[in-house]
Every structure is written in C-alpha cells, then in structure tokens.
Amino acid sequence: MAITREEVLHVARLARLELTEDEVERFAEQLSVILEAVSKVSELDLSDVPPTSHPLAVSNAWAEDEPRPCLPLDEVFANAPDRDDDFFRSPPA
C-alpha cells in the first residue's frame, strides 16, 4: 500500500499544504505505513452493514429563529491578521 510522492503532492495540494522536498519524502514513507495498517478495514464483509456517522441518534435539533445580539465588530476582528474597515483583508485571489 505504498503512497507515491505524486499522491502526497496531490493530497497536499487538495489540503492547501505547502511541503518541502524533505517533508514529501518523509510523509510518503510514514503515510504508506499508516495506510497499510488502516487498510485492514477492507478485510471485513460489510455488505449488509449501514454506516455510522454519529454515535447518538439525534435529529432535527431546532433552535428558535430569533434575532440575538452578535459579537461587536471590533471583537470579530480582534484576532484578524489584517483588517480593512469592516472586511478581512487578504492578498489578491
């Protein structure tokens, strides 16, 4: 279950992770070992088994649709790396 360096780079791009050459090599090796271990799940016959996405059978937890005060803008922006008036500022997309 070896994962190739191309697959590591593909997954890193999907996950928006810049990787150094050294990291690509290290992660390819480590992820191959981990993937081999977790691939064990495919040994079982699960054709009649439904998936579980959540441990409790909670559904439709509604809240009243009422306006409530929200954070003041200065608090919303308190941790922002860059702010322009009432906007988060970022490099051009």
């Binding site: 994962i3 697959e7 590591v8 997954v11 890193a12 999907l14 996950a15 928006r16 992770l17 810049e18 990787l19 150094t20 990291e23 992660f27 480590q30 992820l31 070992v33 981990i34 993937l35 271990a37 977790v38 691939s39 064990k40 799940v41 495919s42 079982l44 699960l46 088994v49 439904p50 998936p51 579980t52 996405s53 959540h54 441990p55 409790l56 909670v58 937890a61 809240a63 954070l71 608090e75 919303v76 308190a78 941790n79 922002a80 790396p81 860059d82 988060f88 970022s90 490099p91 051009p92 997309a93």
Partner: protein
C-alpha cells in the same frame, strides 16, 4: 488565619470545604496553587499560559489549551494559534466561571489534541510527575501532570481517542470520557467532531463526579448535546448486583506488561470481593479493527475541521504573493508534523476514488463496533480492562514512529468509537509507575461508572501523590 494547604493531597471537595468554613480564603487557596505552579512548572511544562489574577472565589481549575477562554490565550498546542486570544468562552469554561471557579491557566496538549504523549506540542513535551524522563500521556498530558503534581486540584481535558483516559492512567489520576453528547463542544478547538468530548481529570472519583455535574448538560450552542441524567456523587459501597464483563481482547492484548496485568487482576479480585459478578466476554472485532477505523474517521474529520486555519480570520498568517500561496505558506509554517500527517491522511481517505474504500468502509466498521458493545451491555453493567497495555513510556521512545504512537490508544479507542462513557482510575503501580483501570459503561451510565469506581478506589487505596513527591 491561613491553614496550611498541602496542594498535593487536597481534593477539590476538601478545598471547597475549607472555603465554605472560612478556614482558607479564596486568595490563599489560589496563592497556594500558584506557588506550587511556580515551584515546578519549569520541570513539568504542564502549563502553557498562566492567569495572574483569579476570577471567582471558588476552587481553582486548570483547563486544557483546546478549551476557549475569553481573554486568555488558547493555542491548542499549535504555533498557528500562538497569538490567539478568544473573544468568547466555551460552554465548559462558562460553566466553570458560573460555579465561581477561577482558571489557573491553560495546560499543555499535543497539537490540536493529536497524540498520546504531549510530544507533538509545539511548546515541548510535558513531563510525568512520577518520573520526569517519561511522558505524561496525551493528548491532555498537561492537565493530568498538573493534577498529579498538586499544581491544580482538578482540570478539564478533551478525549477523542483516549486523551483524557490515557494521561490520567499514566499520571495516577481519575479521568472520565463522558458519553458523547453530554458535555458541550461549543468553543472547543475541533479535532474530530463525532468523537471529541470534554471530561474531568481529578485526584479521586468523587471530585470527578462533582466536576462532571458542573460541566455537563444540554447546550443550545451545540446541537449534538442531550439532556443528562442527574449526577450522583458516589459513596463507596458494595458492588452487589453489578455484572462486570472482562473482554478478552482488551484484557489479553499482545504486549501487555506483567505489572499492568497484575494490578488489573488485583482490582478485579476486589470487585469480586465487593459482590460483583464477574465473567469473561468477547469483543471479537472491536479491538482488532478499532484502531484502523479510528485512524480513518478521526483524520477525515480533522482534515475538514482544520481547513479553517487559513490565515484570514485569526491565527498565524505567512506572506504570499496571492491568496492561495498565503494559505499554503501559513499552513506549512503554522502546523506541525502530526496535524499535517492527519490532514493528508484524512484528505486521502475522503478523496475521489478512495472515499468508499476508506472513509465509507470505516463508517460501517464503526457500526460493527457499536453493535458489539451494545450486545455486551445486554449482559453486563460495566466492562473492565487496562486503560493501556503499558505504563508511561520514556520521552522519545515512540515519537519517531507514528504508528507505534497510534497503537498506544488501542484499548481506549473502541468504546470511544461507540460513543460510550469510560473512566480510568489508578489501580496500582508497575515498576513504580501508575497503572490505569478502564471502566466502560453503556451510554449515559456515568453514575454506574462512578459507583463502581468509588467502591474500587476505597479497596485499592492507591496513593495519588507521586512517590518522588511524598
């Protein structure tokens, strides 16, 4: 008039008694813990951030640094949140505040609670108070070390695959992973949302029940929370009528230390002497397939949850010529190896062409694990096993081998996948290091776990003060 306060031995309940009777002032109590922290945090690295002025006149508490605290830096053990100061309280922090409990500080954790030793913290590992060359367990090693060394009377951790139970076991404390949905996740730095659950780390079972009572309950800010049965703070008694199951796959796991096996066997004998009915049983697939199942589902959820660290709204931002480059550089510079591994593993497991084979299959295995546990709880009230096959391992022993580190949680993962409550209590020493006993119950059976644990605690008579600190 200040009574002398021995923070190593004082339970939270006793501390509250001292305050209620006016024998100690809130400030004196706070100062005693602050002095203990100042005396040994350098060697333990249990706290990442300290609070200088107490807010509230009750029994102080330490909070794992994934728990958002208004105005108090919350890093989740990551450089990407190094300068992050929440503008709101998590629900559990708000519950502590409402109970008058001042926060002593924020405790060390593996980065984003991903790890079993605190060695994945961007701020260096915490050290085990029983042996400073060993890990305190993880991810909530800072909270467990702080409680064991008397730097806090009690603390909160968070448990996804075992991050409350394992550190409690390694440090000789009592750690509860509550039933999923009983404690709000609002304001907890998210790792794997279908598994994350906050729980108390304490020096005895009664304190654990008291703290669980304070933090649990339905919360309109977390739609996965439910109404919680009233918590009964336990009085040690007999165990007549309690049916104890011993799953062979947990109790006879490969690589179990002889000293661990002996301490667990002694605890089981106590349960029998107290009147419990004890019988072996099986979890044929849950243990063998639990770890692989967990390391697909938890990273898949983590890869989605950690997408929010993009350098835009809060946290680190690294320079980049355009938006995409800024995001990629920020995540490269701000995230450590373990979050990167799990993000990539999860992204891979969810990616087109692999989704059914990995994530989809793991969700079905999760059903199998849940059904196996449900079937056992038709016959048993509680399942018992070691919390971990070994005691605390030396710092560095597993840090270069991610898979070896993952296997540390082999015994805590299965019941977590099933959303069940479980409690680790100390049951003895193996070569001078604490051994954890894991008690697992059906959903919402925390009171049963507390009752069984309190009875065993009294019989075992474990001294929670590390030998080197006595």
């Amino acid at each position: 008039m200040s009574a002398s306060i021995d923070t190593r031995r004082l339970t939270a309940e006793e501390a509250r008694g001292l305050l209620d009777r006016g024998e100690v002032s809130p400030r004196e109590l706070w100062d005693a813990y602050r002095a203990a922290i100042d005396g040994s945090n350098d060697e333990l690295n249990a706290f990442l951030t300290l609070v200088d002025e107490p807010e509230g006149g009750g029994v102080p508490i330490a909070l794992k640094d994934v728990i958002s605290t208004r105005g108090i830096r919350t890093t989740a053990g990551s450089k990407i949140l190094d300068n992050y100061v929440p503008v709101f309280d998590s629900t559990v922090a708000a519950h502590c505040k409402a109970a008058g409990m001042p926060v002593l500080g924020k405790t060390n954790t593996d980065e984003f609670a991903m790890g079993s030793s605190t060695e994945n913290s961007a701020y260096g590992p915490s050290h085990n108070p029983w042996d400073l060359s060993r890990v305190p367990g993880g991810s909530g090693g800072g909270s467990a070390a702080a409680v064991a060394a008397g730097l806090a009377p009690w603390a909160l951790g968070s448990d996804t695959g075992g991050s409350v139970k394992l550190p409690a076991a390694f440090c000789g404390g009592v750690g509860l992973r509550p039933t999923y949905g009983t404690v709000s996740r609002y304001g907890i730095v998210a790792f794997a949302s279908s598994l994350d659950q906050v729980g108390p780390v304490t020096r005895n079972v009664r304190d654990n029940a008291i703290l669980y009572g304070i933090i649990s309950g339905r919360d309109e800010n977390d739609s996965t929370t439910v109404d919680v049965p009233p918590v009964v703070v336990p009085v040690p008694g007999n165990l007549k009528g309690i049916r104890v199951g011993l799953p062979r796959q947990l109790n006879e796991v490969e690589g179990i230390e002889p000293g661990v096996k002996a301490a667990v066997a002694a605890a089981i004998a106590h349960a029998g002497a107290l009147g419990a009915e004890i019988e072996s049983c099986d979890l044929p697939l849950s243990v063998e397939y639990g770890m692989p199942c967990y390391y697909l589902i938890a990273p898949a959820e983590a890869s989605a949850n950690l997408a929010r660290y993009d350098g835009v709204r809060y946290g680190l931002r690294s320079p980049g010529d355009d938006f995409r480059e800024m995001v990629m550089n920020t995540r490269h510079d701000g995230l450590g190896d373990e979050p990167k591994r799990r993000i990539m593993l999860g992204t891979y497991a969810l990616s087109s062409g692999y989704y059914d084979a990995y994530y989809g299959t793991a969700q079905k295995v999760r059903t199998v694990i849940k059904r196996e546990h449900d079937a056992l709880f038709e016959r048993f009230d509680v399942l018992v096993s070691p919390t971990c096959a070994t005691t605390a391992f030396p710092i560095g022993a597993r840090s270069q081998d991610p898979l070896a580190m993952y296997l540390t949680d082999l015994l805590t993962i299965p019941s977590n996948m099933a959303g069940l409550p479980s409690l680790s209590i100390p049951c003895g020493l193996s070569d001078g290091l604490p051994v954890g006993l894991q008690l697992i119950g059906p959903q919402f059976a925390e009171n049963t776990l507390f009752r069984v644990a309190a009875a065993l605690e009294e019989k075992i008579g474990f001294d929670p003060v590390p030998v080197r600190l006595r």
